[in-house]
C-alpha cells in the first residue's frame, strides 16, 4: 500500500482533466438528503443507471448522479474522476459502484470521505471474475488475453428475458489489465457505513467473492436471487435500489 500522505504521483504527474459525462435526476423539492453518485463498471456508462435507478432514487427524494468512465482511462483516472465529481456536488456524497465500478469506488473511498458507500455486484478482485467469465463466455473472454478487448455476453449479465447487450462498449485490454493488477485499496477515510449487494446467480461475481468482499467491509451481502450481474438493468431492478435506499435512510438516521 502506497503512502496516503506522500502522493508523489499526484504531485508530479496529476491525472489530466477531461470533460466528464454526468447524468442526473433530481428530486422536487430538494429534501437535503445526501446526493448519490452511481459509478458503472467496464463496458457500461452512465446510461445504465438512467434506465431505472436514477429516476427511482429521485422519486424517493435523493438527487442521483451517474458518471461515465472516461475514454482510454485507467483505474487511477477513474478514481480521480469519481472523487472530482463527488467533491463537486453540494453535499457529502454517497458512492455506489457496480461491478468494476465498485472497485473504483473502493479506491475512491481512500481519497474522499463519502457519506456512505454501496458496492453492488462488486468486482474487487479481477482474477476470480476472469475465471468466471472464461467459464460462461470463453469466446468473448479469450481475445482479451491477446489484446482483442473483452466481450461481454447477454448470458453473463442478465437474467433470461432482459438484454442491453447492444449498448455495451468494448474497453481496451489495457484498462482490464490496470484493473486486474490493481493493488488493494487503502482503508476508507472518515469510516463511512458500507453495504454490499449482489445476486447468488451472478455469472461474473461468484457467491464466494461476494461473501469475501462483504466480510472485508464488515457485514453480510444483501442478496437478490434470480438476478443477473447487471442489477440496475434486470427486470427486477426496483428491488435492489429500494433495499439500498431503505438501508441508507436507516443509516442516515443513526
Amino acid at each position: 500500500m502506497s503512502s496516503q500522505l506522500l502522493r508523489f504521483e499526484d504531485w508530479t504527474a496529476p491525472v489530466p482533466a477531461v470533460r466528464r459525462e454526468v447524468l442526473s435526476a433530481l428530486p422536487h423539492p430538494d429534501e437535503k438528503n445526501p446526493p448519490l453518485l452511481f459509478v458503472p463498471g467496464l463496458g457500461h456508462g452512465a446510461w445504465a443507471f438512467r434506465e431505472h435507478w436514477l429516476g427511482h432514487a429521485a422519486s424517493r427524494g435523493f438527487s442521483a448522479y451517474a458518471l461515465s468512465p472516461r475514454a482510454a482511462g485507467s483505474l487511477r483516472a477513474y478514481v480521480h474522476d469519481v472523487v472530482q465529481v463527488a467533491a463537486g456536488l453540494p453535499r457529502q456524497t454517497v458512492l455506489i459502484g457496480h461491478g468494476v465500478g465498485a472497485l473504483v469506488v473502493s479506491h475512491a473511498l481512500a481519497r474522499y470521505p463519502a457519506k456512505a458507500a454501496v458496492l453492488a455486484a462488486p468486482v474487487l478482485d479481477g482474477w476470480p471474475a476472469l475465471g468466471a467469465a472464461l467459464r460462461t463466455n470463453p469466446f468473448g473472454t479469450l481475445p482479451a488475453f491477446f489484446g482483442g478487448g473483452l466481450g461481454l455476453s447477454r448470458k453473463q449479465l442478465y437474467s433470461p428475458g432482459c438484454t442491453y447487450e447492444r449498448k455495451l462498449t468494448r474497453e481496451p485490454t489495457a484498462v482490464y489489465r490496470s484493473v486486474l493488477t490493481a493493488s488493494r485499496p487503502a482503508a476508507p477515510v472518515g469510516s463511512p457505513p458500507m453495504l454490499v449487494v449482489g445476486s447468488p446467480d451472478d455469472k461474473i461475481v461468484t457467491r464466494k467473492a461476494l461473501d469475501r468482499t462483504a466480510a472485508r467491509f464488515g457485514g453480510a451481502p444483501l442478496l437478490f436471487p434470480g438476478m443477473g450481474h447487471d442489477l440496475m438493468l434486470d427486470t427486477d431492478w426496483q428491488e435492489p435500489i429500494d433495499a439500498v435506499i431503505d438501508w441508507l435512510e436507516k443509516e442516515l438516521l443513526a
Binding site: 503512502s3 496516503q4 500522505l5 506522500l6 502522493r7 508523489f8 499526484d10 504531485w11 508530479t12 504527474a13 496529476p14 491525472v15 489530466p16 482533466a17 480521480h80 472523487v83 472530482q84 467533491a87 463537486g88 456536488l89 453540494p90 453535499r91 457529502q92 481519497r111 474522499y112 470521505p113 477515510v189 472518515g190 469510516s191
Partner: protein, 444 residues
C-alpha cells in the same frame, strides 16, 4: 453537571479557535473521530486569511497561489481539475466555502465570537472564555481539549526603522489591497519575501518609480519550468543535497544571476530560506522598472537613506516585513513561548506539556499549507481519541514521540529570522506525521 454555576460543562466536546482553512479541516477531522466541536470565529464567515472581506486578511486583489494546485488542495477534497495551475485567492476562498458547505461544517461554528482566554481547569480540561465581537457578556465553557487554528499571517511584524519623521506614506503590506494604490506613485517596497516581490512586480506595472529593498539575496524559483508548474518538476524523493544542486541549476536556467541588477547574492543554500516563487521580478529588473537597493538605514523628511549611504525619495513605502504568530488568549508558558515570541511545539502542533492543547497550521512549508494542516488535524484528532479509548497506548505513543528528533521533521539549517521559525520541508514533515499516525493505529 456544573461544578460552578457560571461554567457550562461541554464534557467531551473540543473547542476549535478560528474557521480558516486550518480550523475547517480541524472541525472535520474531529467529527470523523466522533467528537462534538464548538468552533469560534471572530468574523462572520469562513475562510480566515483567504477571505478578503475580513479585517485581518492580508490578501491583495491580484494575489495568486505560489504553490500549484495538486500541492495545495486538501488531500480528501480536491480542487476542480479544470482550475488553473495557480488559482487566484478568490478561487481559494470559494474552495474553502464549498468545503465547509459540503461537509456541513458551519453547524459547529459560532460566528462573530472571539475567544478571550483559555485557561487550564485541571485534568487536561480547559475553561474557554468567549465574547461576542460586538461586545456583550463573557461566557465561560469547559472543554476536553482546545485546538488553536487562529493563523499566523495577520499580526504584522513591526518595521524596525523609525518612520515618525518621514513625510511620505508608510504602510504594511497587509494594508495593501489593490494596484490602484500604487498608480503614479514613487514606491519603495521593503522585503524580499513572496509578498514583497509580488508587490514590487505590481508596482513595476503601475507606479512611476519602484525601489525594492532587500536585506539578503534569495533563490527565486520560477512558477514554470519546461511548461509545467515548477513545484511539480522537482523530484521531492531525492536527498536534500541533490535537490539543492537541482535547485541551483533550475535558478541558473531561469532567473539566472541577479547580482548584476544589484541584488545581493544569496548568503545561504537553497531550501535554507522560505522559497520565493516569482518569475517576473527578474523580468522587471531587466527592464529597469525596478531598482534593487539595500537595507534601509533611516527615514526622515522626504528621503530614505540606505545602508550604503545612497538616498532615495519615495512618496509611498510598503513594508512587507511579514507577520508574527500571536496567541493572546493563551498564557505564553502553555505553548512554551520564548522571549522572542516563538512557541516551541512538538511537530509545531502539540503543546509539549499539555496533551489536550494543540495548534494547527502554524507551519511555513515549501509547498501548500492546506495538506499539511489537514494531516496535522487528523493526527491531533486521532491522538485525542486514543487518549480516551486506550490511555495505556496513548502513554506509549507519547513516550515514543518525546524522543523523535526535531531535525527529522523541521528544517534546522535556515536563515535565522522569525520568518523561518516554522519552516518545514513538506515531505519530511509528512513522513513524521505518517509515522505518528502509524503508531496510533489500533492493533488489528
Amino acid at each position: 453537571m456544573q461544578d460552578t454555576p457560571d461554567i457550562a460543562d461541554r464534557h467531551d466536546a473540543v473547542c476549535v479557535i478560528g474557521a480558516g482553512a486550518s480550523g475547517l479541516a480541524t472541525i472535520k477531522s474531529l467529527r470523523e473521530q466522533g467528537f462534538s466541536v464548538d468552533c469560534y470565529e471572530r468574523e462572520t464567515s469562513v475562510g480566515g486569511a483567504w477571505n478578503w472581506r475580513h479585517d485581518r486578511s492580508p490578501v491583495y486583489s491580484t494575489a495568486h497561489l505560489v504553490s500549484s494546485r495538486p500541492l495545495t488542495e486538501f488531500p480528501d477534497f480536491p480542487m476542480p481539475d479544470d482550475w488553473p495551475d495557480y488559482p487566484h485567492h478568490s478561487q481559494l476562498l470559494g474552495y474553502l466555502e464549498r468545503y465547509s458547505e459540503h461537509f456541513g461544517l458551519r453547524d459547529d461554528i459560532w460566528f462573530g465570537t472571539e475567544v478571550v482566554s483559555v485557561t487550564p481547569a485541571g485534568d487536561g480540561r480547559w475553561d474557554v472564555t468567549t465574547r461576542s465581537v460586538g461586545g456583550g457578556a463573557e461566557r465561560v465553557q469547559r472543554y476536553a481539549a482546545v485546538i488553536a487554528a487562529n493563523g499566523h499571517n495577520w499580526a504584522p511584524k513591526p518595521f524596525t526603522v523609525d518612520t515618525s519623521e518621514f513625510r511620505g506614506r508608510v504602510m504594511h503590506a497587509s494594508a495593501y489591497k489593490d494596484p490602484a494604490q500604487l498608480r503614479g506613485r514613487k514606491v519603495l517596497v521593503i522585503g524580499g519575501g513572496n509578498t514583497g516581490c509580488d508587490i514590487a512586480v505590481e508596482a513595476a506595472q503601475q507606479a512611476e518609480k519602484v525601489w525594492h529593498s532587500t536585506r539578503r539575496g534569495y533563490w527565486f524559483a520560477p512558477k514554470y519550468l519546461f511548461g509545467r508548474p515548477a513545484d511539480q518538476m522537482l523530484p521531492p524523493r531525492l536527498p536534500l543535497r541533490f535537490r539543492q544542486k537541482l535547485y541551483r541549476w533550475m535558478v541558473r536556467l531561469t532567473a539566472g544571476d541577479l547580482t548584476r541588477y544589484g541584488l545581493p547574492a544569496p548568503d545561504h543554500r537553497p531550501y535554507e530560506s522560505h522559497p520565493v516563487v516569482n518569475s517576473q521580478l527578474a523580468y522587471y529588473l531587466g527592464h529597469g522598472r525596478i531598482t534593487a537597493v539595500g537595507d534601509v538605514a533611516s527615514m526622515e523628511g522626504s528621503t530614505v537613506e540606505l545602508s550604503d549611504g545612497k538616498r532615495i525619495e519615495p512618496d509611498l513605502v510598503i513594508t512587507a516585513t511579514g507577520y508574527l504568530p500571536r496567541f493572546e488568549f493563551l498564557a505564553p508558558e502553555l505553548l512554551d513561548v520564548d522571549e522572542d515570541g516563538r512557541p516551541d511545539l512538538h511537530l509545531h502542533a502539540f503543546a509539549r506539556r499539555h496533551p489536550t492543547l494543540a495548534v494547527i497550521g502554524l507551519l511555513q512549508p515549501d509547498a501548500g499549507l492546506l495538506p499539511l494542516a489537514h494531516w496535522q488535524s487528523v493526527a491531533v484528532a486521532r491522538w485525542l481519541r486514543l487518549r480516551i479509548d486506550d490511555p495505556a497506548k496513548a502513554a506509549a505513543v507519547q513516550q515514543k514521540e518525546s524522543v523523535r528528533p526535531v531535525r527529522s521533521w523541521s528544517r534546522l539549517r535556515v536563515v535565522p529570522s522569525s520568518r523561518h521559525w516554522f519552516e518545514v520541508g513538506h515531505t519530511d514533515y509528512l513522513r513524521a506525521v505518517e509515522d505518528l499516525l502509524k503508531h496510533m493505529e489500533p492493533a488489528s
